[in-house]
């Protein structure tokens, strides 16, 4: 209920006698009202409020022509004060009806009598209308509350039912719900395994008990039914379908309905046979990771299936696929043992951080973990959860004297549909993780469906790629490198080609296939170069681009030297280019240096986008740089400034991806040296290429 404020248009009269008379009247009104209403105002506040109302009424009575609207408004405002019901109205009418006319300022004319009567009528109308609205509002808000309460109760009930069923169905213990008449109402799968046949509803429980255990059983049930104990627990034997007996421990407890009346007996059967105990242990081991004690991927996947089914549709589940950042670095520098301790530490912390949620933390392989959260109204959002995890892991832990603080990156799938395949779901989370890890650490990424469409296609292509390569569907094509100043041929570039995708090298790089395939590309290209040279058909500089993966390959140098040896290609006729972004990795820079020492000419790919790009040119023996397509298109004056800067370091500049004569002209004018691209025709196979250029 809001507190109406003083009305600015209702200034009190100048005359002090009149002021006092009004004050006396409003205080009387306040006094009489306060003993029948429930309002949020203190006495002083109510006095002040009614004083203002009275001023408004008096102003209305004085106004020409008379307008009863302020009276109606005062009636409405009374309702807004709180619970001011009919007794409040009655007292108001009494006190104002007499009091207004008794005020000196209205005694002078009969006209005021008429106005007061009309005004009080208007006040009553205003009050009644507002009161009716207030009642409707309150009733409506009650209905809303009732709906909400019903909704909440149903959800709680659904959750607890689902929870019970989830626990009972997946329990390795036998679970039986037995009516008070001793007949079976429901049994889970495990009890069927114990007694060797599925339990038939309606069967008398006593029929399942071995003769030797009948007495103990009856005593147990009597104790439970007479409510002498919370639950009873006794070892006994059950009759198996095959005539054998199963050793079990039965636990019985009373179930009550909502009114607290006994309704059923819950009977749990622990399978005590040694086989069962052994199986239990094996099952535990096969479902848990030995190092951390966490559930393993298999267990996690099964669990996922269950929680997807039982999750509250309103909140759903969230799946996080976590990967430790720089775990390899820890192992390489500090040893595998420290790495193992670190994994155990992370497992403990993840469990602790997630302990407030209904969740499972599992260890996948290596340094990867999975978490599934069954969300509730109180579950924090993904960003908060990830921040909590990284804040916790960011506290250094001491492993063998090394203070280690780690961060994790995550792929997150939030609220997947309940019918999604768990394996598919994990694949999706993994995809999102790769996305997050691409070049950042301690990051997380929500899975986006559109990314998946490309990702899925790529993944499918990556799967069939080795077969396609073996079948000869992946080939080598050639494109010219032009000298911009003369328009002459300055070199030949060899590329992978696959009809199914123009991202052949990218896909092979992601799957790792690039290592053998890239070596093969160099071999084919240098072989072709030698063939042309020996026949006198073409003697040119041959270029091949290395991917990230190839550049950081520890065997790169030996692969290249082996190929050069086999084909007898002069090292100086081969140009290999590396993406400039990979140079931060020590292995790549080492590779580059060694290849240059061997005489291979080195170019840097994707050049010009990074702040350190130029610095590499003075540090490493680079001959040429390639400016990527988007810079080529942009024709930015700043790119133009790159040319003299590169030239100053004795390096030439190749524009990679010229598409038009106009682009060619612009880059020629700013001083670029070489160019490749669609403008010079699409890449061709060896025969066609040779025919075209000669």
């Amino acid at each position: 209920m809001t507190k109406p404020s003083r009305r600015p248009d209702a200034a009190p009269p100048e005359d002090t006698t009149a002021v006092r008379a009004r004050e006396a009247l409003s205080r009387k009104w306040s006094y009489l009202l306060s003993s029948v209403v429930v309002v949020a105002l203190s006495r002083e506040e109510l006095d002040a409020e009614l004083g203002a109302q009275l001023d408004a009424l008096c102003a209305a009575l004085h106004s020409e022509p008379f307008d009863p609207a302020p009276f109606e408004e005062v009636g409405e405002r009374l309702v807004a004060l709180g619970y001011v019901n009919e007794p409040g109205l009655k007292r108001t009418v009494d006190v104002l009806g007499k009091g207004l006319l008794a005020l000196e300022e209205f005694r002078s004319s009969d006209q005021h009598t008429v106005r007061v009567v009309g005004g009080i009528g208007a006040l009553t109308c205003g009050f009644t209308a507002a009161r009716a609205r207030a009642i409707l509002d309150q009733q409506e808000s009650m209905q809303r509350s009732l709906l909400k309460a019903a909704h909440d109760a149903q959800r709680d009930q659904r959750q607890s039912e689902a929870k019970f069923e989830g626990i009972a169905s997946s329990s390795t213990n036998g679970v039986l719900i037995v009516g008070l008449d001793g007949r079976l109402a429901w049994g889970n799968e495990s009890i069927g395994v114990i007694i060797g046949r599925p339990p038939e509803p309606g069967t008398r429980l006593v029929e399942l008990i071995a003769p030797t255990s009948i007495v103990v059983f009856r005593e147990m049930m009597e104790t439970v039914l007479s409510e002498r104990g919370e639950f009873e627990r006794e070892p006994m034997q059950l009759v198996r379908g095959d005539g054998e007996f199963a050793k079990v421990t039965l636990t019985a407890s009373l179930l009550r309905d909502d009114e607290g009346q006994a309704s059923h007996v819950l009977v749990m059967a622990d399978d005590d046979t040694e086989l069962a105990l052994l199986q239990g242990e094996l099952r535990r081991q096969s479902l848990h990771d030995v190092l951390t004690g966490l559930p393993n991927r298999q267990f996690f996947t099964t669990h996922l299936e269950t929680v997807l089914r039982r999750a509250d549709p309103e909140f759903g589940v969230t799946v996080l696929h976590l990967d430790l950042d720089a775990f390899g670095l820890v192992c390489n520098s500090l040893g595998a043992r420290v790495g193992e301790h670190l994994l155990q530490h992370v497992a403990r912390r993840l469990r602790a951080v997630m302990s407030h949620e209904k969740s499972m933390v599992a260890r996948f392989d290596g340094d990867e973990f999975g978490i599934v959260v069954e969300n509730t109204a109180r579950t924090p959002d993904v960003a908060t959860t990830m921040a909590n995890i990284n804040a916790d892991l960011g506290e250094p832990t001491y492993v063998d004297g090394h203070g280690l603080a780690v961060s994790v990156s995550a792929g997150v799938v939030h609220r997947p549909p309940a019918d999604v395949d768990p394996v598919e779901l994990l694949r999706t989370a993994d995809l999102a993780l790769r996305q997050a890890k691409r070049d950042r650490r301690g990051q997380w990424e929500l899975f986006h469906a559109s990314e998946d469409a490309t990702g899925r296609r790529d993944a499918a292509l990556a799967v069939v790629m080795p077969g396609a390569w073996e079948q000869g569907d992946i080939g080598v094509v050639y494109q010219p490198v032009r000298d911009l100043a003369t328009g002459g041929l300055a070199g030949v570039e060899a590329l992978l080609h696959w009809d199914l995708s123009d991202r052949c090298a990218v896909l092979a790089d992601e799957s790792g296939l690039i290592l053998p395939m890239g070596e093969w590309l160099i071999r084919i290209a240098t072989g072709q170069a030698q063939w042309w040279r020996q026949r006198g058909e073409l003697d040119q500089q041959f270029g091949v681009r290395l991917t990230h993966h190839q550049s950081t390959d520890a065997d790169l140098v030996s692969r290249v030297s082996k190929v050069l040896e086999e084909t007898a290609m002069p090292a100086a006729r081969l140009t290999l280019s590396m993406p400039v972004g990979v140079l931060g990795v020590a292995v790549a820079a080492d590779n580059l240096g060694t290849l240059a020492d061997m005489g291979v000419r080195i170019a840097l790919d994707d050049f010009g986008l990074g702040p350190r790009d130029l610095a590499w040119l003075s540090a490493l023996p680079v001959v040429s740089v390639l400016v990527p397509e988007d810079l080529v298109r942009r024709q930015d004056p700043r790119s133009a400034a790159l040319v003299p800067a590169v030239h100053e370091l004795g390096v030439n500049l190749c524009v990679d991806g010229i598409e038009s004569a106009e682009q060619e002209k612009w880059w020629t004018e700013v001083g670029a040296d070489l160019a490749t691209g669609a403008h010079y025709g699409s890449p061709l196979d060896a025969g066609a290429f040779l025919r075209k250029i000669s």
């Binding site: 209403v37 203190s42 009650m142 309460a149 019903a150």
Partner: protein, 272 residues
């Protein structure tokens, strides 16, 4: 049950009167259903002054919260808060200090839902659905953990509440359980139907409640028994008195009929 719409699950039977909603009706509100109004109407006929009792209780609540604010209390645990009406604890307290924190407790699911809707935008007030006879549930609730610091004095409010607790549930022990969870300097604010101050009509009114299908049954207590509930608390002036007599501040704080002022015992005690 037959007349209840079938989507209303067990525990939310609108044909069963709820004391929270009957109280709202007697106070003059419309947050109630036919069954509540029927019981309320019957009681009002037997005790015509009852609306003023409800009103005086509400006025006392406002005075007591203001008194506690004067004593430096900034966190409140209001047990049996019912349907939020006019001048609720958080409104009175936060009017004076917006940082004041309030946790309400009620077991009635509709009152709880109503409070949740009302408090949705108030980060310093929340409601716990719990039976006050399970203090552990109340005290370990996430709402209490979030809003109350139990190492700082708390204002514990039990208005028109303890007479719903039968002797066999140990009302003294129950209050003591809450008391022990709170530090010295905390306050207990209580109103309780005064058995020794009222005439037979009230017995009949209590019988109306007890005959209705409501789960709540009324247990009136005399001055000595209500005083005993303040065990471990020192009553502040003027002690345990008629609701209208506890530090009245103006005409609305007491009723014209003297008997109504004495209908409830009211007291505020400070934990030693």
């Amino acid at each position: 049950m037959a007349e209840t719409q079938n989507w209303v699950p067990l525990g939310i039977d609108t044909n069963v009167p709820s004391m929270a909603r009957v109280y709202d009706y007697i106070l003059g509100g419309a947050h109630n259903f036919a069954a509540d109004r029927q019981v309320g109407g019957q009681i009002e006929k037997l005790v015509p002054g009852l609306p003023s009792v409800a009103r005086l209780n509400r006025r006392f609540l406002g005075r007591a919260v203001n008194f506690l604010m004067d004593q430096g209390i900034r966190q409140f645990l209001d047990i049996g808060s019912g349907i939020p009406t006019v001048a609720n604890v958080h409104e009175v307290a936060q009017e004076r200090d917006p940082a004041a924190r309030v946790v309400y407790v009620d077991k009635d699911p509709v009152a709880v839902a109503h409070s949740q809707l009302l408090l949705a935008d108030n980060e310093n007030a929340a409601i716990v659905q719990a039976d006050m006879r399970e203090p552990e549930v109340v005290l370990s609730s996430p709402e209490v953990a979030r809003l109350l610091r139990l190492d700082e004095p708390v204002g514990l409010l039990m208005l028109l509440m303890m007479h719903w607790v039968p002797d066999e549930d140990g009302p003294e022990k129950l209050v003591a359980h809450y008391r022990d969870a709170l530090p010295a300097g905390s306050f207990l604010v209580m109103t309780h139907v005064a058995k020794d101050q009222i005439d037979d009509s009230v017995d009949e009114a209590a019988a109306v409640v007890n005959r209705s299908r409501s789960a709540d049954q009324m247990h009136m207590r005399d001055h000595a028994r209500v005083s005993a509930l303040f065990d471990g608390f020192s009553l502040v002036e003027p002690g345990l008195v008629g609701c209208g007599e506890w530090r009245p501040d103006g005409p609305g704080d007491f009723a014209d009929e003297a008997s109504m002022n004495m209908f409830l015992y009211a007291g505020v005690g400070r934990k030693d």
